[in-house]
């Protein structure tokens, strides 16, 4: 594949990202760090155990940006458990590339998803505790994730 062709899909998504913004009053915020040094913050708005809005910000490469854009768009309206169950084939489908000819960049597309999935897990955990501490329920859950390719 030529350089232009390989990058075309990513560049298009990179230059037209969806949901690259902050959500005011999020239900959960999670920060992820890739081993190369890139960072991402994922914001989720959750109502009745479903994601009503998802967004991201940070400093990352075109591949991470493309992945974050597609993933945040896809999860809107989904339940937390369905988001946690998103696997690699699904991610490849969303991005339109499995990176089989550019495997060094797998981490780039995985880490936005793992950060988002970790946000869902942390939120679930946190909500469980909050049921006993109702006065804390308005405080968003802030957490941090390292890229360990968890469960995907």
């Amino acid at each position: 594949m030529s350089a232009d062709a390989r990058y075309k899909n990513f560049v298009e998504l990179f230059n037209n990202p969806k949901n690259r913004r902050k959500i005011e009053g999020p239900s959960v915020v999670n920060e992820g760090r890739n081993t190369c040094g890139d960072t991402i913050q994922v914001y989720l708005k959750i109502e009745n155990k479903k994601i009503t809005d998802a967004s991201y910000e940070g400093a990352f490469c075109a591949f991470s940006n493309a992945s974050a854009s597609q993933v945040t768009e896809f999860v809107k309206g989904m339940s937390l458990d369905d988001v946690i169950a998103i696997d690699r084939p699904k991610l490849f489908e969303l991005i339109g590339d499995d990176l089989s000819d550019n495997p060094h960049r797998l981490k780039c597309i995985l880490f936005p998803l793992s950060t988002l999935q970790e946000a869902c897990k942390k939120y679930k955990e946190n909500r469980g505790k909050k049921e006993f501490k109702k006065d804390l329920s308005d405080i968003p859950c802030h957490c941090s994730t390292e890229n360990e390719e968890i469960g995907i």
Binding site: Y7, V11, C36, G37, D38, C61, A62, F63
Partner: protein, 405 residues
């Protein structure tokens, strides 16, 4: 040019490779250098012709292997102006630094003591001291850098308070060459010791540990035309003699009784187990190769390329260089970012054109964070690089920029 790159390149078979249909342009010698035929042959000759363990057998092959191994030690000692018994072979510079931490550090650092390093260190010369300081309840004092990437003199007061200072000779990110001799003088005036991490200096310019008067000097073979898996710790004889061994086992002991042991003499006390014999012999040959080129010529060649590259790349819109402005204060690395273009996208894309550069933190996250720099792109030069390669680098960066915007 100070060196005949045309002739030199004939010695490096890998430079004939094509990557993604393009001739390889290797600009990542800061990560590891390529190897000349002379080194590859030296390693292969050991395995083909005189493979045997060293310092053990009383037969011809073992004697031959031992002779080559010890001959390499002598060459490497001379290369940095040390004595052969002050040269300890390790697997890399990280292990050399860790050896000092686990032996000298464990023995001499106590609660309330101070260890000084700098913010521009490679993780290999930062994390060991952070861990030791925590373990011993000692203070870790970190010398700061200016926005240009130099340590201000005011920071040297941290050396005067330290029992141990460990500092990089030349930064792998900024290229900054630190005045280690002056730093060592301050350490010694205050009864401290100094370790110099020479991973990015020994390959590129003349190093003299006696003139520098450092207590320890660590470097690695694979960044200076040698094989991977072999590094060096130099230590002053009187200090090494007082240090406990690092690893225990064969070779490092002369008298092994059931209740106690007597350690071997220097440097074998610190070389437990069968060493990387082929690696050491290969490194000895690499040292000979660099000596034949002339180390001042190597330095001049790299400075020429550095100045040429800076001038050439300076015209790229949105490009920002990091490190000291004066090339005299730097080694042959240029680290940069281009606005709106991630360094990993850039280096991955350049690979399409056969160009290898590094991207990311280069194992030096603290200095990036300190200077507020995103993960960066780095091109590093060595004896086989040419101006033509830099011309192509510039041309292809422009092409990547067009596609990515």
């Amino acid at each position: 040019m100070a060196l005949s790159t045309e002739e030199i390149r004939k010695d490096f078979p890998i430079l004939e490779r094509r990557i993604n249909g393009h001739p390889l342009i290797y600009l990542d010698s800061g990560a590891t250098s390529q190897k000349p035929n002379q080194v590859i042959d030296a390693v292969a000759d050991y395995y083909r012709e005189y493979n045997a363990n060293v310092h053990r057998g009383v037969y011809a092959l073992s004697a031959e292997a031992t002779e080559h191994y010890e001959e390499a030690r002598k060459k490497i000692a001379k290369f940095i102006n040390a004595e052969p018994e002050e040269i300890i072979f390790t697997k890399n510079a990280s292990e050399a630094i860790n050896m000092v931490m686990y032996t000298y550090g464990e023995q001499n650092i106590s609660a309330g003591d101070s260890i000084t390093t700098s913010i521009m260190e490679h993780h290999s010369n930062f994390i060991p001291w952070q861990v030791l300081a925590k373990k011993k309840n000692a203070a870790l004092s970190i010398m700061d850098v200016t926005p240009e990437g130099e340590i201000p003199k005011a920071e040297y007061s941290k050396i005067s308070k330290a029992k141990l200072t460990s500092i990089v000779h030349a930064s792998n990110v900024l290229g900054t060459i630190n005045p280690v001799k002056e730093m060592g003088r301050i350490a010694h005036e205050n009864e401290g010791v100094i370790l110099v991490d020479g991973s990015q200096s020994a390959p590129h310019f003349k190093v003299d540990v006696k003139e520098m008067d450092c207590d320890f000097f660590a470097f690695t073979g694979h960044k200076m035309l040698g094989p991977t898996g072999v590094g060096v710790l130099y230590g002053k004889k009187e200090i090494l003699e007082k240090m406990p061994p690092f690893l225990y086992g064969g070779e490092m002991v002369v008298d092994a009784k059931t209740d106690a042991c007597k350690w071997n003499e220097l440097p074998y006390k610190f070389e437990a187990g069968t060493p990387n014999i082929a690696g050491v012999i290969g490194l000895g040959r690499a040292v000979e190769y660099l000596n034949n080129l002339g180390r001042d010529n190597v330095r001049t060649h790299e400075l020429e390329l550095l100045e040429y590259a800076e001038k050439k790349l300076n015209g790229i819109e949105g490009l920002e260089f990091y490190g000291p402005k004066s090339s005299k204060k730097r080694t042959g690395v240029i680290t940069f970012n281009i606005k709106g273009l991630s360094s990993i996208d850039l280096s991955n894309f350049l690979d399409e054109f056969g160009i290898a550069i590094r991207s990311g933190y280069h194992c030096a996250q603290p200095v990036h964070e300190k200077l507020g720099i995103l993960p960066s792109a780095r091109a590093s030069f060595y004896v086989y690089n040419t101006r033509e390669e830099i011309d192509i680098l510039k041309e292809k960066i422009e092409e990547v920029k067009k596609v990515m915007s």
